[in-house]
Symmetry: C3
Subunit: 463 residues, 3 copies
């Protein structure tokens, strides 16, 4: 068979990894510098006389715990959530690991470039680490759509393009439109979902049912996936609040997300049982839809949404997510030819759009007398006096439209690039299968103790 | 078969979940408000002129890392600890998830109601989040006693009553008796354990041995359970110190708990090997008894117990816990008809009582000259000058008695309510079985790589 | 068979555990006191008048989140990383748990003794907790070399000696040579690795291939191991920065480690595919070599290494680690008779030495004009004006030599002590086997639902 058809990664993967990393290292050498809080000279220069207190004021102490929670979501949360497939656990955790490690470096450069250089240099610190992890999250959402149907080389190429477009879209929303999206309902979830859905649409495989028998879970793979789910669920309050302004906005965002997720979980269990003829719960729903509440308060969580409002949003998000898995996903596949392995449309797509709409409405409904306090710490122009709730809501809505456009267009182009027959993609007959790209161990020779040692032997050993 | 006998959840579970969540949302809308640290207006109004510093003083930065550790214990710790059963992993993690998500919302209301309303409103922030998680922990302890023998509807009903009584008991102990119990030896562990033991006593199943073959672990289920154990063990210092006063008490509590757990672990391994005829370690002991050291310093950990004292308490707790699993649990089942699936009496019951006694004794033994510093930050009345060690110790002891009474009475009533044949409880023949309430996937069709692709095919693909 | 040959732990393990814990408790009672930040009297005595602010300044709030991340690495990271063996999961997590719980107590005493007593007392608080966990990490690295070939009694005896020598070596490096090694490239990784390699050399088993069929992974055991890997990877920035000075050094260390690990991961995937004839990735490499980047910036991470420098170091570390697994480990076993179960030479040995060298070179290359700011917070003598980059680099290099000497000598002596036939070590035929020391459950009787309930029965139940 020709090179193009082969799935052998021996040259392709090392070559791509090494070239990418060498480019990254060169660009980091040329462009990246410590920021004021990580640079020994600058930090000391900016210190006031009471040195000890100042060290405690380093942003490290106020952002780093949030960063670590986000980091766990990216590597354990996303990685294990996708281990639900019976024979794709190595790839789920492993490729997640690879493309995340690449994306966070590339994102540091792209976001640094767009978010403002300092005398031609990109400044890094814990905030840039969080932002890079956020951008990485978007790539991992798209990974969920093409899970099991792509080679690691394809995934890295997808990450190159998606990270770049993510940074552009984020720049348009946050810097040009002045939108607010601290938890990324739009920038992360909507963008990642529709980008990934368009990619998987372009990569449509008419004969994917040849791998159907592997496109499902087994008992223990579902438990591994629950590790991912629970970590995502627990740390989502940290995710949404990680880069808000300090003080009450950060505190409030965590609180709102906590309640949204709790309400979402009850909705998920309710509708999962309701849509099943025997009233049985479906692990796919519990693993995914219970998280939709975090997605849906990614924009408005920072605002004065109240626990009451958060719970309503969370309940709605869980409901539409379960219904999406049950009724919409099969239609998307059969009618629109969108093969969405993890159902990211239900977990990130629809709840992301819901979150954007909730954010726009919450902004637009702000009452003038209350506005000064309300959005003081949330929207920059609230402070300057130019604040107008309706126009703010309008800009939020425009941001959603821009995000959808960027994602669909970017996914389209990227999809066609990924369609080139040079990446060693798996054949239709061998999707959802670790064995193509991994050394897979054999099975245990025998579980029973007496295959290892006869009871007599064992008795002797223990006497 | 009649509705009452059926285990079909299709109507019951959705109905209950939706009704409960709607009630919660309405009550939150009517009663719950942001507190000073989460409300944009109040936070800004209370700010001094140096705005930036104040934002750093938000309680979020001093409580939230502890909250996240507690959150991990509730959802990963408890959830995975109970996955040890061979075919009950979905239910262990899943029902844990469901009843925790409900309980934390309901607890916010109940605790807010009893711990003092502000002009008719319940104020929420990170401290209320920690307290709600604590109350949830108590429900999950009781879940351990009835694990495998209850439907999710029963569990939600149990949570409604247990959360309510927890809040009442906590109010009596902390507000009326002025007791100290930051890590909840009494309020959480003793209460949750004896409540659950009474419930399982009332729900006694004489024919449970029909499900005996499923009431045990397999190799990988024991490893999943160790995930729960280790997370509980690691984060217990955060649990016990999460709501202490700031400064030295919080620091000291974490330190004492750390040493208690370390000593407990050595006792657990020692006695686990000692009580086994072949000297083999038992996973049940390691998974559970090694945690008893955290339970047993839940009251005194905040006091000047010293690492020395903490290690003695931890060692004792591990010892009685292993001996309880080995010798007491079978007697409780055969003589007292208490079927305690997880052995919560050994992990939470006896160590909780031990912790309460240690707390009372430590309080009573406080030497007057040292008292001012000793309990300055721990007991409110130490500051007012009304402090009397003996009476303080007495109130601590009374608190234990009240807790036991409330738990046993509450468990009795709740048990009879749960006995009604309307909840779809599993029959004796189908306990400890996920298949009743979950869509359980089939097994892998073949592990061997050559069932997926013959070596020839694979070679071709990789050429 | 005689006592000496038996693997029965019934007397040996309990006796050793209880004696050790009793000794620990007595020594803690005699020697250990709360430090200023954990002691109620001292903390209050040192308070300025503005009591509330001071409570926020307790070191607890600035060190404890780092401590918890380190704690997770020690118990989950190391514990699960070693579960890759098919039938040694209980021992990997369990013995890791046991020897870590012992070592952290013993390390508190040993490090307290060497790092300076206060009026004859050892003062404890969160910094001593982190240091004790660090020392424990070193023991767990050595555990990796002898994994599967030792009894728990042997492991505890090894820990007694290794912790003691660790404290001596650490004292020589940090206090006598003034070396800098915040993340422990030398004190933790190099020391633990070469100590363990020497122990396993002395304990060489010529007939270990009798247990060869158990010295490999199965599908799910590799996934459990990935839990360990990912947690180590994510929290390594916290590990390296946990005990640096406050402010910019801590922040910078976390940042440098983050980039080093990301670059290391790409190198690992690249070389893992490259060294495999079919271009397939090897789980052994991904699980281990991807972490080498954290080890290799353990010394220089605190310095002004820059992200650029960190990425180069990480890339090199990943490369040599994969190549070590592929080409060096087999040679070490066949030529030098070093049976290194986990390949700690590749993950901790070589990357540790690389880290030490990078640290020495970075120190030596410091340009004088920049030095004042550069090393102000890193090296104590930078402040006193006695600073000389070349001599500093020299002392760093001497520290590496001392560490290697201490480790090899200590491992040699300890190895011979562990060779005594009194510890119940496993026979060559039963290495890598939980069944010797653990009650291992049987297998599930049948996965299929219809073995539990026939479809008819199930239908009736759900009707």
């Amino acid at each position: 068979s020709t090179m193009a058809e082969s799935t052998n990664m021996r040259l392709r993967l090392p070559l791509l990894c090494i070239i990418l990393e060498v480019i990254l290292i060169i660009l980091f050498g040329a462009l990246v510098e410590y920021n004021d809080d990580t640079h020994a000279k600058l930090w000391n220069a900016n210190k006031s006389h009471s040195a000890t207190r100042d060290d405690y004021e380093n942003e490290f102490y106020y952002r780093y715990p949030s960063f670590q929670d986000v980091h766990v979501m990216i590597f354990v949360g996303f990685g294990f959530l996708m281990t639900f497939l019976q024979r794709y656990g190595f790839s789920s955790v492993g490729f997640n690991f690879l493309i995340a490690a690449f994306s966070l470096q590339w994102a540091t450069l792209m976001q640094g470039f767009f978010h403002g250089m300092h005398h031609g240099k990109i400044h890094v610190g814990v905030t840039s680490m969080i932002n890079a992890d956020f951008c990485t999250g978007s790539v991992l959402i798209s990974f969920g759509a093409v899970l099991g149907k792509t080679s690691p080389v394809q995934l890295l190429v997808m990450a190159i393009f998606e990270v770049t477009l993510f940074a552009v879209n984020e720049f348009i929303l946050l810097s040009m439109l002045g939108a607010n999206d601290a938890g990324g309902s739009m920038t992360i979830h909507t963008f990642g979902a529709y980008f990934g859905l368009m990619v998987t649409r372009v990569l449509y495989r008419p004969n994917l049912d040849k791998s159907k028998h592997r496109n499902s879970s087994v008992y223990h793979s579902d438990l591994f996936a629950m590790i991912g789910t629970i970590y995502l669920w627990m740390f989502w309050p940290s995710f949404n609040s990680a880069i808000t302004n300090y003080g009450d906005p950060q505190h409030r965002t965590a609180l709102n997300t906590y309640y949204s997720l709790a309400a979402c979980t009850l909705a998920t269990f309710a509708f999962s049982a309701l849509v099943n003829p025997e009233g049985k719960l479906d692990m796919v729903h519990i693993q995914n839809a219970a998280l939709a509440g975090g997605v849906a308060v990614g924009t408005a969580g920072e605002m004065m949404l109240t626990p009451f409002g958060s719970m309503i949003v969370g309940f709605l998000a869980g409901t539409i997510s379960v219904l999406g898995y049950k009724y919409l996903t099969p239609v998307l596949e059969s009618k629109l030819k969108i093969q969405d392995t993890c159902g990211i449309h239900n977990l990130h797509g629809m709840p992301g759009v819901l979150g954007a709409v909730v954010g726009a409405v919450t902004s637009a409904l702000a009452s003038p007398g209350f506005t000064l306090y309300y959005f003081y710490d949330v929207f920059a122009d609230a402070e300057t006096g130019k604040w107008n709730p309706q126009s703010r809501g309008g800009f939020q809505a425009i941001s959603l439209a821009v995000t959808l456009g960027m994602a669909l267009f970017g996914g389209l182009v990227t999809g066609f690039i990924l369609k080139l027959p040079i990446y060693g993609a798996p054949p239709d007959t061998h999707c959802f299968e670790d064995g193509l790209y991994w050394e897979v161990p054999g099975e245990e020779e025998g579980h029973e103790l007496n295959e290892v040692a006869t009871p007599n032997e064992m008795e002797k050993l223990n006497s």
